[in-house]
Structures are given as C-alpha cells and as structure tokens.
C-alpha cells in the first residue's frame, strides 16, 4: 500500500504563485523537535526493554515482545479512530486538509497494523505453539478491523472524482472508526474462555514492567505521529513542487496546453497547492495522538 500512496499526488495543481511560495504553507513545522524526541523516547524504551526490565517468570525473554506488540496494536487502533474523527471534521467543514489527515492516519495505522499482526503471530507461535490463536479475542478482533480497513485504499482507488472520493472515504472512515470498539466488544463477548493475560491492564504488573510499557507506548505514539507528519509534509511539498513547476513552464511558454497532466493511479487524496493555505501549522498539530 505504500507503493500506492507514494504513487504521486498528481492531481492538476492549481498554480497560484502567492500561495505556493508563502512560507507558512510549510507543513513540517516542529518536525525536527518531534523527530528528536521520538528517537530519544524510543531509545529509552528499547534500553529499558532489553537491559532493565526483569524477565517474566513464565515466558522468559519472549515476553519482551509485549513491549512492542501491544503499543503497536494500541497506537494502530487509536490511529484508526483518530482517522475517523478527522473524517467527521472533513464532513463537517468540507476542508480538504481533514481528508488528507484522515487518509494519512489510516494509511499509517494500516502499516502499524501489519506490524501488529506479525509480532502477534510471533508471540502466539512462541507461547502457544501456533501462528494463530482463535481463542484470543483481541487478536481476532484486530484481524477483523484490519480486514475492514484494508478496503479503504481500494475504495478510494475506485472513485474517480476527487471530491466524491474524499467524501465517500470519510463516510467509510467514520463507519469503520465506530466499528473498531464495537467489534472488540462483540468478539470479546464471544470467547467463553479468556486467557489470563496482562494485556492492557497494567495494574497487576510489577512496576518496572508498567513503567517500561508506558514508555514504550509513548515512544510508539510519538513514532506514529512523526511518521504521519513526515507523510503529510512530503505529500504537501510534492504537490507544491508540482504547482511551481507547472507555473514555471507556463511562464516560459513551454506548457503543452491547458489540459492537466494525466492523473496517476493514486488512492491518495487530491491535494491542491491551495488547499493547505487555510491551515496554520503553528496553531496545533491535531495529528498528534496525545
């Protein structure tokens, strides 16, 4: 899906020189501080996981995947829900930037979701001997949610009109965002036999484990936010670059015609260079998970 997303935001950019050059249209404000803090927190988290936190009596070294897998899962699910909230904003305000953010949040959550499923499988194989465990409701509901969101990109991809594409994608994102908690409740209710597990409940953990878990969770949330911000910045910059290039071509008189360039096959939301100017990046960065 990265290939699809990277496949260019190649919608006809309306070249408006003023907006394209305006310095406050830069999306990556605060990116440096965010990146540094992500690296620091992730380094601390990994240090704690590998060198400090005591081994769990039952599972030994294998249990350490808990500090990667569970934060990945939580962040990914939160990302899906946040994508739904951005989609509500998009439907209410009709501003393209909210669809853009919703798209990036869901896209990144899908990537985190793949990582969650892989680490979960490794953990299941190590502790229960199977790559997959149907008795574990969290794992099963995560798979269902993941399968639902896997249709997000094909849905976008199948709608030509950019305006309708973002509207329909937002409707999907809101529905699916509401489905995430509901599905977890339903599947959890279905399992008679719950594994005695520490998932999510940090209260009965030794304090070293809780602390390490919380640090890992914060690190993962920061990583998610940073990657989202990078994707937003890259896509936005690329759109602006295209707009400028077209403008330059038009000024030089080498532009072929008024017809826009052929649109690439992309599931990414259309991002006009002007779409972002209403946004003041210094005010807040709502794509932060908290």
């Amino acid at each position: 899906m990265t290939a699809v997303a990277d496949g260019a935001v190649s919608r006809k950019p309306t070249a408006e020189p003023g907006s394209a050059k305006r310095p406050d249209a830069v999306f990556g404000k605060g990116l440096r501080a965010l990146s540094i803090s992500t690296v620091v927190v992730m380094a601390i988290a990994l240090g704690l996981v590998f060198f400090w936190v005591p081994l769990e009596a039952d599972q030994g070294f294998l249990q350490k995947i808990f500090y990667v897998h569970v934060p990945l899962a939580i962040v990914s699910l939160c990302g899906f829900v946040v994508g739904g909230i951005f989609a509500i904003q998009h439907l209410r305000t009709r501003e393209q930037k909210w669809d853009f953010r919703s798209y990036v949040a869901i896209h990144m959550s899908l990537i985190f979701g793949v990582a969650t499923l892989i680490t979960g499988s490794i953990w299941a194989k190590g502790s229960w001997g199977h790559w997959w465990e149907w008795n574990e409701p969290t794992l099963v509901s995560f798979l269902i949610v993941f399968l639902l969101y896997a249709t997000y990109q094909p849905l976008r991809f199948a709608i030509e009109d950019p305006e309708r594409q973002s509207r329909y994608a937002s409707v999907f994102a809101v529905t699916a965002g509401a489905f995430v908690p509901l599905n977890f409740i339903a599947v959890r209710a279905s399992t008679q036999f719950l594994h005695p597990r520490v998932l999510g409940a940090t209260s009965n953990l030794p304090w070293q484990m809780s602390l390490t878990f919380v640090v890992s969770l914060v690190g993962m949330a920061l990583l998610f936010t940073t990657l989202c911000k990078y994707e937003l910045t890259v896509k936005h910059t690329r759109a602006q670059l295209r707009a400028l290039r077209r403008l330059a071509e038009r000024r030089a008189g080498t532009a072929t015609s008024a017809t826009p360039p052929p649109r690439g096959r992309s599931a990414a939301p259309s991002l006009h260079a002007t779409a972002m100017t209403a946004h003041s990046p210094g005010a807040s960065s709502p794509e932060r998970l908290g």
């Binding site: 269902i144 639902l148 849905l155 199948a158 509207r167 409707v171 529905t175 409740i185 339903a186 599947v187």
Partner: protein, 236 residues
Amino acid sequence: MSTDTPGARPAGTLSVVRALLRKELLVELRTLESVPGMSLFAVTTFVVFHFALNRNSVDGDLAAGILWVTLLFAAMLGVNRLFVADADQGGFDGFLLAPVDRSAMLLAKALALLAYLVVLELVAVPAFGLLLLSPPLGRALPELIGVLALADVGIAAIGTLVAALAVRTRARDLLGPLLALPLLVPIVLGGARASSPLLALGHATGPAGRWLLTLGLYDLVFGLIAYALFDFLLED
C-alpha cells in the same frame, strides 16, 4: 431542503418513505431481479454444503454456521443490486431533485432490503430444515424467528449504507462484499451463537440473552450511523 413557495407543503418523511418503498417493491415485483436469485442461491448453497462437507444432516454449531454463512452470502447478492438501478438509470438524480428529506431514501431502501431478507428466509430456512437439519425445525422455529429478525435489521442497515457507498465506484460488485463482510462479522457471530443451541439435537436451552443483546445494540448503533452518514453519499 426548504420550500419557499407558500402554497407548497413539504411532503412528510413518512409518506415519502411509503412512496419510495412502494416503488422499490413494485420494481422488484416487475423485474424479479433480487429475491428469486437470492433464494435460489441459498438453496443451491445448501446443496453445495452437503457435498462439500459430505454430511447428510447437520446440527448444533455446524448447522448454525451453514445457515448463517448461506444467509449472509445470499444477502450480499441483494446488497449488490440494491442501488444499481438508481445509479445507472438516474434514480438518484430524480430523487435529489425532489424537495424531500434524503434520509427517506435510506429508510425506504433499508425496509426494502429487510423485505427481501424476510422473503429469502421464508424460502431458505424451510429448505434448510428439509435438506440438511437433523433435529426437527418446528421446535426451534419461534426463537429462531426472533434471532433472524434481529439480525435482519442489522444486515439491512449495514447493507444499505455499504451498498450506497459502493454503488458509484468502479468495481462495485467487488467492493460491496469486501466492505460489508467485516462489518457484518459481529452479526454473524451473534446470530450463529444464538441459534446454535436452538439447532442442537437435544435442544437444551434457548438463545443466550447476551447474544440477543449484542445483536440489538449492534442494530441500534449501526442504524444511527447509517442515518447520520447517508446524506453525505447523496450529494452530487
């Protein structure tokens, strides 16, 4: 939409729904596009299950699973057809030109889908009892009808929303089921778990209350979601 002319009163939502529902059912009666296909599909699927499982009769969990998978996939056929005529032959445009509440279309379509599902089950459940089920169907029937009714409401709500979402895309026949199946997993789960004791040989207990509760809550929540979001799908 508001009507500015003083004489014209906006049509009440209920009468709009009634008119749209009547049109839906009339079209279905005249063309017979969905319901016969759905029913035939269900019966054929039972036959396929007989051969695939190499079983002459089933009960309990297996029976509930077969029944619900079959009903789900048959419902998918109806969901896929639900808005096709409106998208292809200008039904949406005609509806949007009328000064009426747009949610009326959601309600009418969901009721039409509900009616299709009821007819489907009138055929499929007796056929299932006749072809595959080993305990007699009659004993389980009253409670099974309740479970089916609860599930049908949820399938109708989600199916209508998904159908509207998928119908104006390329590859709509593919996207509809892809979107609907994960969303319907909790319904299948609740329906199958609730009906498996009904279809067991001993018929020991009725459906567990929590499954009915799950189904009811799911219906309610997705009914509200569909109601809140449907307008956004009809805007052009």
